[in-house]
């Protein structure tokens, strides 16, 4: 582990501020060559900014950048690339309509102005094969699975003999098997001498692949680089990530989720999840019987879905993304084309009911897309907050906006949303606060079934814990919760029951204690 010669990447005293906000302050870090390094931290800890400084996308206000011992001008992508640093972005940037070969050629250094499709494919076939990316070069990017897209993206980054490869949250979009594939790929690259810098926030994944781990918090380097491995104290890392202020707020269960599946061995500190009766008495919150839909623009058709969610029950929906979870939510919102079957909410048949009627029966939705389906970003907080209730009233009755703003103010304070005034646009809120605004609107006393679709995606630990607490509280009030998530740790931690979707069907059902391998197998259909 002892670094031989110059570090592959070194930052000295790097500070970045966006206006009054310091994103990074005085971060100095040396990364030894030929290893996999991980940088951890919450949202807003400065991870992505750090990656951008290292790859030349952001010019720091202060500090210097050295690549393989050579100082490189900061804030210059071309210089950083020439020195061998490549960044793979969090959200992929490949044009969906390109073929794999075209995507590889696009942006490559030694491109030719005129090319033939066949020539391109010949040119890039070997490169992709060497990296173990098995795709057909004539396939279009949009037809590839996410894992393959990421493979192509990484291969593209490695075209120009990169010596340092930076990946920003590469596992966010991957299934558990995809994550393993990625890690294998990274280990192969490491064996080939590439230095890898991973920006990650899940400790379990970090410890599974990285050689060293560094923790950022509030833009400062608070821990590391520590050697990563079985002996690394997970809780120490977890606390370094979360910091002391939020530490008291972190329940055992949340800590377990943060540190990963192994964390559940913490025993007594974990909230018992099976404390409610498995088959609740009285009317169930949701009953779907034999529901099938047409293929939906946002996912495969649902086939013969039977699902009941009891009152005071949280049912988790696991599955690799794109296996019908979105169609399921859209069907419940009456936005997908139901062909057969029956849907009942709290004992009321709503099979033919419009979404407004279903909401009247107690349906509440925290949709997948916070910024499009959940909120109107250009509209004010109070308008977003009051939309659900206003829709129930007569449209032409005179209302008092001042009264609504007051109610909104009270509600948002209760939900601990950080904002200046209820007239500011929703787009000015951070991700966590925006999600709390949606919760404040959707989680009310009249709710009988809450659909929470990826409710914690992109949220930091504190906000995540808050969302979970809210969902648990809703359960205690007798509300049914249908939680769709791609984060198995989250599902394992909070679900009273877990179903797995594959290709538009429910293929398995689990009760706690959950087995990662069994659920993973069901998700990939590998039973």
């Amino acid at each position: 582990m002892a670094p031989s010669g110059a570090p592959a990447l070194e930052c000295r005293d790097v500070s970045v501020s966006y206006g009054p906000v310091a994103a990074l302050s005085g971060v100095s870090l040396r990364l030894a060559p030929g290893l996999i390094h991980a940088v951890c931290g919450q949202n807003g800890a400065g991870k992505t900014t750090f990656a951008r400084v290292a790859s030349g996308l952001v010019r720091p206000n202060r500090g210097a950048l050295f690549i393989s011992g050579q100082e490189v001008a900061t804030g210059n992508v071309a210089r950083a690339r020439a020195a061998g640093v490549e960044l793979v972005h969090q959200s992929f940037a490949l044009p969906p309509s390109f073929t794999v070969a075209e995507a590889m050629e696009f942006g490559a250094e030694k491109g030719t102005p005129i090319y033939s499709r066949r020539g391109l494919e010949a040119r890039w076939k070997q490169h992709l094969e060497n990296l173990g990316v098995r795709v057909r070069l004539r396939d279009r990017i949009r037809d590839l699975a996410v894992e393959q897209q990421q493979g192509v993206e990484i291969a593209r980054a490695l075209v120009a003999e990169a010596s340092v490869l930076i990946l920003d949250e590469p596992t966010a979009v991957l299934s558990p098997t995809g994550v393993e594939m990625l890690f294998d790929r990274l280990r192969n690259l490491k064996a080939g001498g590439v230095t890898i810098l991973l920006i990650l926030h899940k400790i379990r994944e970090v410890l599974g692949v990285a050689d060293t781990v560094t923790v950022l918090r509030g833009g400062k380097l608070v821990e590391g680089p520590l050697p990563a491995g079985d002996t690394t104290p997970q809780l120490r890392l977890a606390h370094a990530i979360v910091g002391s202020a939020a530490e008291q707020a972190l329940s055992g269960a949340d800590e377990a989720a943060l540190t990963g599946a192994e964390g559940r061995d913490l025993g007594a500190s974990v909230e018992p999840v099976a404390s409610v009766p498995a088959t609740p008495a009285g009317p169930v919150a949701l009953e779907i019987a034999g529901a099938s839909t047409r293929a939906d623009p946002e996912g495969p058709a649902l086939a013969d879905i039977d699902l009941a969610v009891g009152r005071s029950e949280i049912v988790g929906v696991a599955g690799v993304e794109g296996n019908g979870q979105r169609t399921l939510v859209r069907m419940l919102a009456n936005l997908a084309d139901l062909q057969s079957g029956r849907i009942a909410l709290a004992g009321t048949d709503v099979t033919r009911g419009a979404l407004a009627a279903r909401r009247g029966a107690g349906l509440r939705i925290i949709p997948f897309e916070r910024n499009t389906e959940g909120l109107s970003l250009a509209s004010s907080l109070w308008e977003n907050w009051s939309a659900r209730q206003l829709l129930f009233g007569p449209l032409l009755k005179l209302i008092s906006p001042a009264a609504w703003r007051r109610d909104c103010d009270l509600s948002l304070k209760q939900w601990d949303v950080r904002y200046a005034t209820t007239t500011q646009p929703a787009g000015s809120l951070s991700g966590g606060n925006a999600q709390k605004l949606i919760l404040a609107r959707e989680v009310d006393a009249d709710a009988s079934l809450i659909i929470a679709a990826q409710p914690t995606r992109g949220l930091d630990v504190g906000a995540t814990a808050f969302v979970w607490k809210s969902l648990r509280a809703a359960r205690e009030r007798g509300c049914g919760v249908l939680l769709i998530s791609s984060d198995l740790d989250e599902l394992f931690d909070i679900s009273d029951r877990l179903i797995v979707m594959l290709s538009g069907r429910i293929v398995a059902e689990f009760r706690p204690p959950y087995s990662l391998s069994a659920v993973g197998a069901a998700m990939t259909g590998a039973r």
């Binding site: 419009a354 979404l355 206003l390 829709l391 005179l398």
Partner: protein
């Protein structure tokens, strides 16, 4: 925050209008006219000459009514650019009533004429709305084409069924409206008209700022996907906004016929609806703003009559100024086009 946001909006609108005026000043100066004289005569004709404000008000009042309708339909996210056609159909509807019920008492005919005018405008907005909601036809195209059809219908009725047989034949027009049915003299200012404008203005302000419809339609205009997920019927909001916009344009057409015009003239006020769209956009779709901006554009319309006399400029100079303002305002409204695309995606899922 809210106040600051509003000040920015207002400041930006003023800046755009000033930029447009400066641009026009440069263009006219280069074309050999005197920019100074032009601005002077605009200011005189619009506001400074004795009685000029009355003339400005005469133009501003109907524009305000139409612009309110445009603002409401735009707020719902439906780009109804057919105000001109809806204005014509309203005028035609009202003329039919006063022409064919000539012998009836005024207290029957005038309300019926208003009803016919409002219905005419509403119907001319209804069919693009239904096409949009039923089959996703782009309302910008249907309403725009509807303007041309309405213009031809106007020529058709003026030269046919409503034609004034005693006319000179140079300008085709209907028979003059019987003085008993007129709601103002040629000056276009009367307590009736001012009263109607105040009622419409207050009602529309309340609708936009003090009802659930106002809040929800503004949410829908900014993010239709979000209100669909809240369970709103986007199509109903859209049709309501559309038809209301058409009805108001029809009302403005009725006022023009029963008021200052006193008859239906083929091809009259060909820019009324478009100026109203401009007013709504400059006012950022606010009703209060629309009232103020209407006064400004009313002033420009009044001044266009003075320009040839005072500055030796063609009155089309005012059209050029309007076009320049439109240019700057459109540049600002480009995000609206992005919204249009978002709506397309949303309508695929309703």
């Amino acid at each position: 925050m809210m106040l600051k946001g509003r000040l920015i909006t207002v400041g930006r609108a003023i800046a755009f209008v000033l930029l447009a005026l400066i641009l026009c000043g440069i263009v006219f100066q280069l074309a050999g006219y005197s920019a100074k004289e032009m601005f002077q005569s605009i200011a005189d004709g619009a506001f400074l000459n004795p009685g000029a404000w009355k003339n400005s008000l005469r133009w501003a009042l109907p524009l305000f009514i139409t612009a309110c309708g445009v603002a409401i339909s735009f707020r719902c996210g439906f780009f109804n650019v057919g105000a001109q056609g809806q204005f014509y159909l309203g005028a035609i509807g009202a003329t039919f009533v006063v022409d064919f019920m000539a012998g009836w008492p005024a207290f029957v005919v005038i309300p019926l004429a208003f009803l016919a005018g409002i219905l005419g405008g509403a119907i001319w907005a209804l069919w693009p709305a239904l096409l949009r909601v039923r089959s996703g036809t782009d309302e910008v195209i249907t309403t725009l084409m509807g303007n041309f059809i309405a213009g031809l219908v106007l020529i058709y009725v003026c030269s046919g069924i409503l034609k004034d047989p005693s006319g000179t034949g140079q300008v085709m027009a209907s028979r003059p409206v019987s003085p008993a049915f007129r709601i103002s003299t040629n000056s276009g200012l009367s307590p009736t008209i001012i009263g109607i404008v105040i009622v419409v203005g207050v009602a529309m302000w309340l609708l936009v700022n003090r009802t659930a419809f106002g809040v929800l339609s503004s949410l829908a205009g900014r993010n239709p996907i979000m209100v669909v997920w809240q369970g709103a019927k986007l199509s109903r909001l859209g049709i309501a906004g559309f038809v209301l916009g058409g009805a108001l344009a029809g009302l403005a057409g009725t006022i023009e016929v029963l008021g200052p015009n006193g008859r239906l003239v083929s091809g009259f006020l060909p820019a009324h609806g478009f100026t109203a769209i401009l007013i709504a956009l400059v006012a950022s779709l606010s009703i209060t703003g629309t009232a103020i901006v209407s006064l400004f554009f009313g002033g420009l319309a009044a001044a266009s009559l003075y320009l040839p006399v005072l500055a030796g400029l063609p009155s089309a100079a005012i059209d050029i100024i309007n076009a320049a303002i439109a240019l700057f305002i459109t540049a600002r409204t480009v995000p609206g086009l992005a919204r249009l695309a978002a709506r397309r995606r949303a309508s695929g899922s309703t």
